[in-house]
């Protein structure tokens, strides 16, 4: 045993030493990485809509080797000038290469960027050290397909097996008790009671009465459960025509929800974005980490975009998404009221959408669920002059130490949602 511990100790101290050394060595590398990262974020914010970091052309040229080309054809200083104000460089006529580029790309004017020298160096550094293609992260696949219980669910099987075992034990125990009692009677010399067959026990009137009462209760409860959930689709997770990942867009890339769902602030519908909104980014991003080009190609098909020639055709076809969150026709729901006025987070009703690879309905969307929230949510009095008319109510409740909830100003009345 002692030797084992020694080896363990030794390895720990060695490991510590090794990591310290590595850490010290790495400082330099780390700051370079930092710069590249900074460059990447500037690039994505300003350049990515017209340039790739590869050789591929878009609105502007692919930037792989751009620094070298400028060094050869002009100078790095001119490149800085060019980035800050390309038109000035062209007008000056100092750099024939610049004018050539301008002609080559159909005289599309590059936007002038007010970037500092450091920023530009960072971008150039990033261009020279483009990100390496990363393989698939296998962990992404482990999304829950459905959250409803099913017979194939391991927990269900476990429960069934356990109940069978328990039932068997119970049966054995009762037999055991019966036999022991019989034996004790025999030992005491008392008359041994006749063994009652199980069939007769089950057809006993008292047993039947109790069982049927239990059955009725069970049926009633489940009927109530079924009817209240009728038409509700909690955990509904249909397959969409495009394997769009909210985890990637909203979670990893941190795209604001309302960038795409722009209706949420304005009106009743949050709006599924039209395909041209996708193209704001996907004109540049042709490949995704998960499915490569296949899924993004579906957007191109919808808007009839040819990534090779970078042109739109005239045969667009709308994308037919499957609607997940459905409310019955007699329910009026308005996103603007909740998102814009109430300041409710998207996740409050839609769940951890930024973690969903494939979206599912997180809540029941039932009336009880709505009402619960309306009873607890506080009205945003201070921020909105509209609520001045409830001033007195506000004051009164404040004195009592209570908060004014949506319910207090009529938020649970029928005709707030049904008309």
């Amino acid at each position: 045993m002692a030797t084992m511990i020694d080896i363990f100790k030794l390895s720990i101290s060695k490991l510590l030493l090794l990591t310290t050394c590595l850490f010290l060595l790495n400082v330099n590398v780390f700051s370079q990485d930092e710069l590249i990262k900074q460059g990447e974020s500037i690039f994505k914010a300003n350049c990515a809509s017209c340039h790739y970091v590869t050789n591929k052309r878009m609105t502007g040229p692919g930037l792989a080797g751009a620094v070298q080309r400028w060094e050869e054809n002009a100078s790095i200083e001119k490149l800085y000038e060019w980035i800050r104000n390309s038109q000035a460089v062209i007008r000056s006529g100092d750099v024939p290469y610049a004018n050539k580029l301008y002609e080559e790309y159909n005289k599309s004017v590059m936007t002038a960027f007010a970037l500092s020298d450091d920023d530009i160096s960072a971008v150039l550094l990033y261009i020279e050290n483009p990100p390496v293609e990363v393989g698939k992260d296998p962990g992404d696949d482990e999304m829950v397909e459905t959250k409803a219980l099913s017979w194939s669910d391991p927990s269900v099987i476990f429960m069934v097996v356990v109940s069978i075992i328990l039932a068997a034990i119970g049966f054995l125990l009762s037999r055991l008790i019966g036999n022991l009692r019989r034996m004790s009677y025999q030992a005491k010399g008392l008359p041994v009671p006749e063994r009652v067959p199980i069939v007769r026990r089950l057809t006993d009137k008292r047993f039947l009465a109790a069982a049927s009462i239990l059955l009725v209760i069970f049926l009633a409860v489940s009927a109530f459960d079924v009817t209240t959930n009728m038409g509700r689709q909690q955990n509904y997770q249909p397959t969409q025509p495009i394997a769009f990942s909210h985890k990637l867009h909203a979670g990893i890339n941190g795209v604001d929800c309302q960038y795409c769902h722009s209706g949420a602030r304005k009106g009743k519908s949050a709006v599924i974005p039209s395909a041209n909104v996708c193209m704001n980014c996907h004109k540049a991003i042709e490949e995704g980490p998960e499915y490569g080009k296949t899924e993004i190609a579906k957007i191109y098909e919808a808007v009839d975009w040819d990534p090779e020639t970078q042109t739109y055709g005239d045969n667009p076809k709308p994308i037919e998404w499957v609607r997940i969150h459905n409310l019955p026709d007699h329910v009026y729901f308005n996103h603007a009221q909740h998102v814009n006025v109430g300041g409710v987070e998207c996740q409050t009703c839609h769940g951890p959408i930024e973690e969903m690879e494939k979206v599912y309905q997180h809540e029941t969307l039932g009336m009880g669920w709505c009402i619960d929230c309306h009873r607890e949510t506080e009205v945003q009095f201070a921020a909105n002059d509209y609520y001045q008319i409830y001033e007195q109510l506000h004051k009164d409740l404040k004195e009592e130490g209570k908060k004014v909830t949506v319910e207090d100003i009529g938020g649970t009345e029928c005709q707030k949602c049904h008309y």
Binding site: G263, S274, N340, Y386, G410, E413, C414, H418
Partner: protein, 1036 residues
Amino acid sequence: MANRKFWQSYEEYTNDPEYVEKKHNEFAEKLPFASFELATQKSTPRRDFLKMLGFSVSAAAIAASCEQPIRKAIPYVIQPEEITPGVANYYASSFINGNDYSSILVKTREGRPIKIEGNPNSSMSPNGGTDARAQTSVISLYDNARLKNPKINGEVTTWEEIDRVVGGDLREIARQGKKIVLLSSNIVSPTTKKLINEFGATLGNFEHVSYEPISYAGIIEANKKSFGKNIIPSYDFSKANMIVGFEADFLSTWLSPNEFLGQYSKARKISRKNTKMAKHVQFESLMTNTGSNADERYIVKPAYLPMAVGALYNAIAAKSGAASLSGNFNIGLDTNTINKTARQLWNNRGASLVVSGSNDPNVQVLINGINNMLGNYGSTIDLNKPYNIGNSSDEAFQRLIAEMDRGQIHGLLIYNTNPAYSYFNTARFAEAIKKVVVTASFNDREDETASLVKFFLPDNHYLESWNDAEPKKGTFSLAQPCIRPLFNTRQFQDTLLSWMGKDESFYDYLKANWTKSITGNWDKALHDGVYEGKVKSAEINYADTGGGNLAASATSAASAIIRKATGIGDQLELVLYQGLIGDGKYANNPFLQEIPDPVTKVVWENCLLISKATAEASGFIEGDLFRISARGNALELPLLYQPGMADNTLAVAMGYGRTNAGSDNCNKGANVYPLVSYNEANKTFDYNIKGEEFKLARIGGTQAIARTQMHHNINDYLADSNEPSQYDRKEQLVREATLAEYKEDHWAGNAIGKKFRDPHFWDHHMVTLYDKRPELKEGHHWGMAVDLTACTGCNACVAACNIENNVPVVGKEEVFRAHEMHWLRIDRYYIGKDDNPSVAYQPMMCQMCDNAPCENVCPVSATNHSAEGLNQMAYNRCIGTRYCANNCPFKVRRFNWFDYQGADSFIAKTAFDNDENVTLADDLSRMVLNPDVTVRSRGVMEKCSFCVQRIQTGKLDAKKEGRALEENDIKTACQQACSAGAITFGDMNDKNSRAFKLTKLDERSYGLLEELHVLPSVKYLTKIRNTEQLQQDALS
């Protein structure tokens, strides 16, 4: 006061025992179970019940266990910048159809027009209101009967083929120098007129004839004679202190009714501060909607109406010193009445207006003379701003028929007019059109005329078209398409341009014409919808024929009038009038068909109106079928008693009895156009038929008439007692006072209201069963004030309510069963004796009682009260016991007996469907539904919601902007549609709002059935009449 009689129908007038019993019944009708009694008498109904229960439970279980359907959400590929799904857009446009014009705002949702509002920028729609025709015009966009493709000889073809064949044929006719005629409805569009002229010029021998079955040619002919001007002058009722009408229904149908209604209301709307009210006197033979609103109404037989005009002329001439007309006009008239009216007119000279609805130029010449003597030209009448409305020529149409008959016309293009239905001699037209080589119709459907032509070139609906209008000189407006053409149709003007070989679209043509001739600021004009400023170059010239002479023309007109009226005596006369349905072109609009006539309250058909006295003298009974024959035509109509009709006079509405309107359900009533005649001397159509010109015969048999007035009656009796209650309820429903009384005491007519306004009164004199409800002091308390003085009963609010709230059309058979669904009805009350009663209109919507009797009786609490004072109705909670409707004292609740609009998942045309099948449950008709309002399913109760969807939208808009709610943020549909400005809606807790001032402070304000302590939130303002004495006729 107690002896004033208020009544709504003859059953009530005569206290018909059957009616009285029906009134006391719990439900208006028995449940429609044929075997109901049989089922309850069976020995084992319990088993049947269990069977039914088991069946329905298992059926429901099967239906419910089915998988949820997969619902798609399909976004735009490229979302238009101005569209946010779920948020409505409004576009300024113009409703133009022949003589009907309104400047409008079109509400679109996700690109489909769903509602029409008035354009408040336009001087043609004062108060921003619209009429019922403009409101329902959006329905005609989604009309299944519209032609979906161009056709040649009934075969579907393409527009290229049409251009090749028809364009080629027309060029060939033009090459031969033969004549081509464009026969159209009246056109108010200056650009279209210009285009037609240019089109004609390319053909050479071309004529454009405007034809309208309901003509105003008499006014044009008269102005030619009096002033040498070929025009209809514009009228301004708002400047008048004294208005006299001779059978002119200017508030409902005559010339520019929506504009006149706004002006009229402006001249008559009184308040605490402004007690100046124009007086309105009407002389007429039938009871028109306008006449029913007059302060004083005098009944004159149709033949003697021109004599009354002559008598008035002489009475005023005597005052002004002008030459009198020779001859005796005082036949069948009360001289005192004429003299009194003349005196009142003379006292208001320069600020009075006399109008006549007659199409007889002789009458109109005398009217011109009267207005001239009164100095009204330049104040209430403007000859320099003539109307383009009503500018059709009866003479030109007569000449056209003759030329067609002689084979002189080789090409006939028919645009938006239907002479095969509306011309009096249909057979002659049908014969004549056979002699024309090339016949084409631009009409939107295969109507009566279209079936006589070879080419169908369906025009776009006006909501799919570019257009402009100049209804009155200098008043311009634009129309823009609010939806892509639903079918393969093409705008008439584009077809003309294409035949002219031009590449440009009518949009380019229109824009070029506007920027060149009208205004340089096209974008602003398009945004505003109207342009009423200085015009760049007036291209439109009005014919000035010269040679007019007021005095001379009056003299000759007078002798013609006397000649015509001589010897009429007491003989039976027939008058044709225009109803809501117009000249017949709206026949296939079920919404308009089901809106009751303002006076008769008849829906879906026309009847033969007669005074009860005349009918009884001849032994006729209401409902009897009669045949009218004249000039070889015969038609059959049921008889209907109409109070306030002249004796020995019959009246029928035009526009019914179509044969090819579209749906068979809309081809109801009888076509009375064959009774019209053409007067050669006057060059006008004549809508009055003398007794010797027609025969009336009872053909045996009766016909039930669908009338809505007695269907939903306010309880005016005490349930367990036949004794009159402490307050005569009917009299208290409509409170009235004269202007003089009001000036003296603002509480005039509303003494009981004053008593109830006193907070101590309740505590000391009344007992209430209701708990003391905490007053709704916090937040909003919605309320409405309806000014009975301003309301004329025009029905625009009813139409607006129906379309805003997805109120279904039920059909004539259902109306018989009192199943009409209108959330807002207008109760029409007669006051006094039936020979000439005065009339009051009272819009009845849900009164939003704060102690609502309906709420207490609902077993499932589907109807309950909100903190904002709304009486809420939750459809999905309702189980249809109908207790609430029964307990509602105002009878404003409606029950869905059938699935009228396809709300249920059960398929149409099953036992669950409306048996009459006039439902608008198909996909095209459902496009007009308001997506913010639930489509109610079968078996639930519904009622007015105070347009809660508008309240919520208004509140949300204020919240989004973080500001307090303002008064104009929320307008109910009825309020917005009202051209008279009679309805005021708002927050009664907002001390600065008009709604608060009118409902809580105004002395005229009162609630209905206040003694029941139901605390209605709708208040009515006492009707003030500018007359010496209210109608006082006794009960006896």
